[in-house]
Symmetry: C2
Subunit: 258 residues, 2 copies
Amino acid sequence: MEPLNESINPTIQRQLKHKTIRAFQRIDLDHTTINTLVDVARHTSSSQFLQAFSLISVTDPHIKQAIAEVSGQPYVAENGHLFIFVVDQYRNLQIGKEKGQAENRLGSADKLLAGLADATLAVQNTVNAAESLGLGAVILGSILNDPQQIIDLLGLPKLTFPVLGLALGYPDQAPQLKPRLPEEFMHFENQYQLKTPIVPELKDYDARVHEYYDLRDAHRRVDTFTNQVQRSLMAQPGKRIEILHILHKQGFLVKDPD
Amino acid sequence: MEPLNESINPTIQRQLKHKTIRAFQRIDLDHTTINTLVDVARHTSSSQFLQAFSLISVTDPHIKQAIAEVSGQPYVAENGHLFIFVVDQYRNLQIGKEKGQAENRLGSADKLLAGLADATLAVQNTVNAAESLGLGAVILGSILNDPQQIIDLLGLPKLTFPVLGLALGYPDQAPQLKPRLPEEFMHFENQYQLKTPIVPELKDYDARVHEYYDLRDAHRRVDTFTNQVQRSLMAQPGKRIEILHILHKQGFLVKDPD
């Protein structure tokens, strides 16, 4: 457990105690709550104000089940509300075309990064709003385990791309706080300066992460942070290797988009 | 001015009234405040818990001035605190190497998107914390006007990439709320379904954006949303066209990274 500065306001107290919630009570989110969360997402900062993202509420149980299978997380199909946030340069392309713009550079790395930023900032803003209402949240990077499947399930056109899922609901679990990497390894002043070797310096941190996993689930293999990182250098299983190909297929990072 | 649901809690009230602040009072942020904000950034959700981002506090006035010139925003060099958030798979590479891992797939699209998500979620979490303390914020996508220059200024190694800047300070302006795209054009249920033609449907919205810009700055050209979007389809000026090349140079999206 890391020390918390209790003098800080409720918003920051919640942020410093943020935990991913993967089990929700059998209570649906009402329409007012969902509308409020969408409203918050819409009011997030946007790169050059191009608002290059959209969000999709997944309410169809068959689509939810299919997304749960892609993400490998059965709880996604269960309770709570599921949003999928997508980069959306398709809407901007439509607007430009209708206004007679012949050029189309919306598939550039520039515009992909702008859309990724818009979508991702909106995800976190929505998480903060949800948590202020007593809801729990899990952000689902795991939708990219099979990006083409998500694209097909949601009917995503070219110049869109699924970024993150967000499942929200009333918490049905109270996990421990997951210990974060010590500040000195991720916050620098003026110059990026990582002291090496780093693994010996992370010995205590590894022990704390190990203890966290041990408390979280006695049935799963208990791991350290540096072991997790070591595995992340290896080729990932499944269709994550196709992400760049699917980005190209959606019209991003290619020289001459349609 | 959009209607606000005043029954909502203070966190969400702030989020629905979010405005970018570009002018700060001549008051420095104290160390406790900066430490708290960094702490919040560290406690943001992270993809597969790999914590693939770092942040750099820019306090050197020469570096700040150079970043202000890259971003084309003179206020960046003035008051307030400046953070640069970066994708950081370099730290994970170091850890993996020290543990004897020969393989290195950290430059894959998968791992780039994970790092972009981690960094960007942390930016918005920091914004929400700052605003809860009465600070104003401007997120700076404009650091990518010249990514190589930012990389050189901050000494960013391979497998890192600058994502967004964040300037924070005590507000010295009170702008109007910028009207957001109506919900029906960006929030869908189960399937992505954009009704076209879209431009005629955005006539009222265009008028509201036009009025907003008119109120904001009488000296600048007043524009509509769809005009801004139309221009975004064209090739961008300057070095934004180099972003993909610089990503490759940093070891991302290439077949055989070092």
